[in-house]
Symmetry: C2
Subunit: 364 residues, 2 copies
């Protein structure tokens, strides 16, 4: 029989960050393109919406009033998923007494604080439509938040161990307010996904005496076929083990643990590569491309190894598969069995490589 | 400060099957019910659709013709995610040569076969609308498939290690054909999720010399507050560590490893509890309640411990949160950080307990 063909034969790829597999079924991508390219009904919103809770000067659901901010704007989430003001969970007092329940109903209290970070006073401009200096302001704001909360933690004023910065973009990703914004949740635990990655980065370091993501950057820069963008400080790749059709990772070339270590050039490079990546995404299907994205970086407090082995990177998880309206569903088999994808990472990277990363389709 | 209140204070709950945490933020459920109960526009479909690929007698996309089947009907998926007819993946020949690539681009070939299992010739009847004897036929069909493929494996005619049976119900769960059906994917690997569960069941057994799910059934039958349904052979619970708002597990009371061990009473009990559960689900928001669900049971081939410690159960993962049209989005924080839910498992169980499990809203 013929040799194994990655673009025709089903295989699993191992994700070394999570130590789980993704099933790749590339022959499925050869099916006729059922959902032909849909007409995209994109329209730029008004730059100000009097009913938006995030626009400058407006009154929020809770009655608080936004200042007339002119660049970025941070405020505590009115409906935070975690709060500081709650009692400690005490296993002995609050936990179950029954021996079976002690084994099977395991609980931890979680305290923290959630923030909303508006990108711009302009209701209509998403990252790909902002200028690089405007995106630098966003990076500065994330950095200041990360640094301020770390200082609060170190001064013993707050219990934070990790700050998860993320953006849900588009209604498809559960974003209810189109005003461009990200969120930042500071928690007194390291969230499961981050904890898993940190443990696996550490295992890799112990085994190979080098850094997983450092090695991975080196490898991808040699192979080139999965690289979508590159500048002095970062690469963007469709990782070998990508789960979502056009999933990417932004990875720092140097060993930067967190935003706090960025110099001005690196901030500029991050802003610039984020702009190019999101322009490519929007140009893929001529739509405002939905995604969830976020930063993985050093925890405030973890084992020394976990802090030392952390490596700044971002994940972009976009759901679209074939057009502006046909998305990949991670459902039955994916939820009960294993993550599954149709096209290969290399095929996805090839399409993203060829797209214009400089001029947004709205400006053509 | 007051004691810890599970219905007000944020906490994480540990899932012993996956060894990961779910963040529970119950105070968020106290927010005003923003999305008021939506008008449900449910309408029973015609019992036969001449354009449906799954209806009896119709011609499928590939040109194959369905028989005029009268009960259940199984056929190989025309667009299978895995196939038997492909070369083996040979690490040395087909894998990378570069030492870094060998470390970081880890691959396995995957062979297998995918089946579609139509529940009934009737295009319109979902599980809650079928009679118990009709659902018994579905259970029989799953059992026969499981047993036949196991025999093929044992006879060395097929490489299958695991059969993943699942159902995607509703457009919200990526189901493109409303004709009630499930799928069954037979693979020559044990999928990640199943592998993780089997490993954790085994670890528990080694530690406590008893079965995790056996203990869990005992505990839930004592506590009662998370039990939604019960009969001689099964319980349905909202697990302590549920991720989706109205997630449930169907667990066998006795140690049954797979469908193959079911006697007629147990088959009847499974059919009957599935009917009641899906009626409750439909009655929750007066809608055809979408979900992905599936069976976890013994692999055909695993370590002796993994086979021995497997325990028949089903997971139901429904996305709806507040109404027929408002779902829970597992997006930014959930994808990058940790699974997150608003209402507690006990609150969800309480709502499901109070719902009618006998009469479907269409028949009221
Ligand atoms: O096989 P179907 O029904 O075409 O497809 C559906 O179920 C599959 C298995 O969960 C998923 O991979 C697909 O994304 C989903 O749309
Ligand atoms: O915080 P928001 O924007 O109201 O809500 C959105 O993001 C959260 C964090 O990913 C999710 O928990 C919600 O399900 C989602 O709708």
């Amino acid at each position: 029989m013929a040799n194994f063909d990655f673009t025709d034969h089903s295989h699993r790829r191992f994700n070394p960050l999570t130590r789980s597999y993704v099933l790749c079924s590339p022959h499925r991508a050869k099916r006729p393109w059922l959902g032909a390219r849909e007409a995209s009904n994109v329209k730029l919103l008004e730059s100000y919406d009097p009913k938006c809770f995030l626009c400058p000067g407006n009154t929020r659901a809770t009655g608080a009033q936004n200042p007339k901010y002119v660049s970025t704007y941070v405020f505590p989430n009115d409906y935070s998923a975690v709060k500081l003001d709650q009692p400690d969970y005490n296993e002995n007092e609050d936990g179950p007494k029954d021996p079976l329940a002690k084994r099977l109903l395991v609980t931890q209290g979680v305290k923290g604080k959630c923030f909303v970070v508006c990108f711009s006073p302009n209701h209509a401009v998403t990252l790909p439509l902002m200028s690089v200096p405007e995106i630098v302001k966003v990076v500065d704001t994330w950095t200041k938040l990360y640094t301020d909360l770390k200082a609060e933690h170190s001064a013993g004023k707050a219990p934070y161990k990790y700050l998860q910065i993320f953006e849900n973009k588009g209604a498809a990703m559960g974003c209810s307010n189109p005003h461009p914004h990200s969120q930042a949740w500071a928690l007194d635990t390291i969230p499961t996904e981050v904890d898993t990655e940190l443990k696996n980065l550490t295992k890799y370091k112990e085994t190979y005496h080098s850094d997983l993501l450092g090695d991975y950057v080196k490898l991808e820069m040699q192979e080139k076929k999965r690289i979508v963008l590159e500048n002095d400080s970062f690469i963007v790749v469709v990782p070998y083990w990508a789960l979502w059709p056009f999933e990417t990772m932004v990875i720092s070339k140097e060993h930067l643990h967190s935003l706090q270590e960025f110099n001005d050039n690196q901030k500029n490079d991050l802003a610039s590569i984020l702009k190019k990546l999101t322009i490519k995404y929007d140009n893929l299907f001529d739509t405002f491309f939905p995604y969830s994205a976020g930063i993985h970086q050093a925890p405030y407090f973890g084992t020394e190894d976990e802090v030392e082995n952390s490596w700044f990177h971002m994940h972009f998880y976009p759901p679209l598969l074939r057009s502006a309206t046909v998305k990949k569903f991670c459902v039955g088999f994916e939820m009960l069995g294993e993550a599954q994808r149709d096209l290969t990472s290399e095929q996805a990277a090839d399409r993203l490589q060829k797209l214009d990363g400089d001029v947004h389709f709205l400006n053509k």
